[in-house]
Amino acid sequence: MCSIQEGELLQPKRQPSSSLRDRKCMKCSNEETVVIIRINDAFCKDCFLQYCTHKFRSAFGKSRLIRDKEQVLVAHSGGPASCAMLHLIQEGTSRRAHKKLRFSSVLVFIDDGVFHGLTLVERKARNAQVLKQLISSGLDVHAYAIEQVMSTTSSASLGLPVQAVSADSFEILCSFDSECKQLEALLAATTSDTSRQSLQHVLRQRLLIQVANGMGINKVLLGNSTTSLAVQMMSNVAQGRGAHLLYDMSFADLRSTSVTFVRPMREFTTHEIEHYLLLNQLGTIDVISTGPKGLEGLTSDFVLGLQADFPNTVSTIMRTGEKIGVSHSEIDIDLCCSLCQAPLDTDVGPSSALAATQFSEVVSRGNRQSSRCSSEATECCGQGDGSCQSSTRCELPDLRRSLCYGCRLMCKDLKDTSLLPASVQSNALQVKNRAEMRASIQNFLIEDDDAK
């Protein structure tokens, strides 16, 4: 039957095709237009830059999240959005700023060359290039390599002294040989680009949390733009992460109890960022720009392709995202994903996509008699050496049970989950132990009726 429903034929508006050049700025109406933003708003250079600064400041003002003189970590990837954010922060804290931003910033760069398959020489060259630029900003710069997330040493130090890097000290970033090998093994065992990409997101986020904790800082600024968030939202929906959209999209991501991720660039489109950089004669620092691959790349092509025809696409996705909340108002650490640390979304009952998928797996691998039983009880870690039964390592079913739907999908593409960082294994073990403790004292707990 035709699946078109009532009301859905109201189609988004297409791009108006008007000539742009001979128009005056819509704000001051006497300067030349240099950029068209939103759908069809013409701005001159001064008005556009003012608009950017105002938008950036008001994001902080409205949220009242960051207190006076608070120290924040600014995650810098070297990409355009990071560069624009750094410039806006510098302008906002400079002496000539009209209303100063009142926090102090520490830059942090994470060398993720392993994910891009760079050689050591290439990584060194890239690190040197990016870090020299960052150091020239005059702010304190800290640098880490993504493989340090594999480290088994205590999370606070990560094997690097907690002090700013100087121009000659970033060789150390390429010196984590054993961690690097571990990460390479993990990536080699990951069978899809999609999962490698989401692994990169998750590990980067974990490392940032560890770094911030180590430095005693509890706010991390990220450079996500409107466009990249809209793409990320669609790709997260496609990867079963619908329950966590609030965390992934909002100005302040409160999923981690110790560190809040803040996204001050979330109102800027990539188009605005490009023009901001252009008009301030800034370039991007990082030269490698391998776009996203796998599902995220596909989604990116889809959203950006639509955006070209229907210029409201990105903003409509964002507005939809803003109306989505989370089902649990309070975060219960016992029920958080051991990987991405968002609340678990896997307690969904028998009539659900998750149960239906598990059932599909059972029925299509035979076993007609026990097809009604839960699939969780019969899994093996796949090692085939009986290591499932030993309690030293966190077994696959336990690990799996401690992951959210999206991270479970990712781990399905992972041939050997024991390659995941030790901290993930210990998180999972902790979740399991807490659950067991809770079960043993269950009868003595007074439950709030509204809790569920």
Binding site: S3, L295, T320, K323, A353, A356, S360, L409
Partner: protein, 327 residues
């Protein structure tokens, strides 16, 4: 060496699109039917004695639905009274042909068939409507009228439930569409397996977790008789984008269709977001979020010679009606 069936070890003839497991014909049938049975039981879709109208268009989804519903009803003794219910939109060269398929299904599956037509219910066929409105907005009429037509047809046969052949791909597509369109009310509703309890008949989707490809496979191997032609009036370009996206995503990660449904199921809407209030139409008493339902409005436009009356956003429609003094 031939590929073995993952379930029984015999020679496999297909790879399941949903799980990528190789299976033989018999085990595939069994798994396919068993999954739908589980969906029906877990979601408590029916109670014994229900009279269920199967929305039958003659297409692959509804043909397989009718076949599987009858098979499961016999096998697991649901004790349901099943009816085939078709809507005749009055589209020459499309619906008249597909209705022939439904009539053959009626005889093959021994199920009673009821056909309701737009012409009887509204006095207009889609062919006549297209003559008035042209090819641009005609799907609005068809979509709006169909919703009520199914309900009215079901009531005429004294059914108390309707099942439709919407499959997992359709639902995933709708989730993506509603995000792209910013339609938060539909986004919340669209993953529900049963909809419309208040004021209208409950409608369920037993194929909610069934892949379109598997439905085609099932129909192909069972050699079921179905009609496959796109509607001659259907232009819906925007849904086409979402559809193409779902197909691409499925190629990269086959589980993505179910994953999108999981996302849709676990979305929760912020409490302070304003939702349209469901009321009833002051004219026909059918559920509506406006004082006059869309079907009545569209019909009024047609009958008064201004077919564009009900097209567009509700607040704009209200403006046009105020100017012309329609209540």
């Amino acid at each position: 060496m031939p590929v073995q069936c993952a379930a029984c070890g015999k020679k496999a003839i297909l790879k399941r699109p949903k799980t990528a497991d190789a299976m033989c014909r018999e085990c595939f049938y069994w798994a396919f039917e068993e999954e739908i049975h589980k969906t029906i039981i877990d979601a408590k879709l029916f109670t014994p004695g229900d009279k269920v109208a199967i929305g039958a268009s003659g297409g692959k989804d509804s043909t397989v639905l009718a076949y599987v519903m009858k098979a499961l009803n016999d096998r697991y003794n649901y004790r349901l009274d099943l009816y085939l219910l078709s809507v005749d939109e009055g589209i020459t060269g499309y619906r008249d042909d597909s209705l022939e398929t439904v009539k053959r299904n009626r005889d093959q599956y021994c199920l009673p068939l009821k056909i309701v037509s737009y012409e009887d219910l509204y006095g207009w066929t889609m062919d006549a409507i297209v003559k008035e409105i042209g090819l641009k907005n005609n799907c609005t009429f068809c979509g709006v009228f169909r919703r009520q037509a199914l309900d009215r047809g079901a009531m005429l046969t004294e059914c108390n439930k309707i099942v439709t052949g919407h499959n997992a791909d359709d639902i995933a597509e709708t989730v993506i569409m509603n995000i792209l369109r910013g339609d938060i009310a539909r986004l919340r509703r669209c993953t529900a397996i049963t909809t419309g309890q208040e004021g209208s008949l409950p409608r369920c989707k037993p194929f909610k977790y069934t892949y379109e490809k598997e439905i085609v496979m099932y129909a192909y191997f069972k050699k079921l008789d179905y009609f496959s032609t796109e509607c001659i009036y259907s232009p819906n370009a925007y849904r086409g984008y979402a559809r193409a996206f779902i197909k691409d995503v499925e190629k990269v990660r086959p589980s993505a269709i179910i994953d999108i449904i999981h996302s849709g199921e676990s979305l929760s809407i912020k409490k302070d977001v304003k939702m349209p209030v469901q009321g009833t139409c002051t004219r026909c008493g059918y559920v509506s979020s406006q004082d006059v339902c869309k079907a009545c409005l569209l019909l009024e436009g047609l009958n008064k010679g201004m077919p564009k009356l009900g097209i567009g956003k509700p607040h704009k429609v209200r403006k046009v009606r105020d100017i012309h003094g329609y209540v």
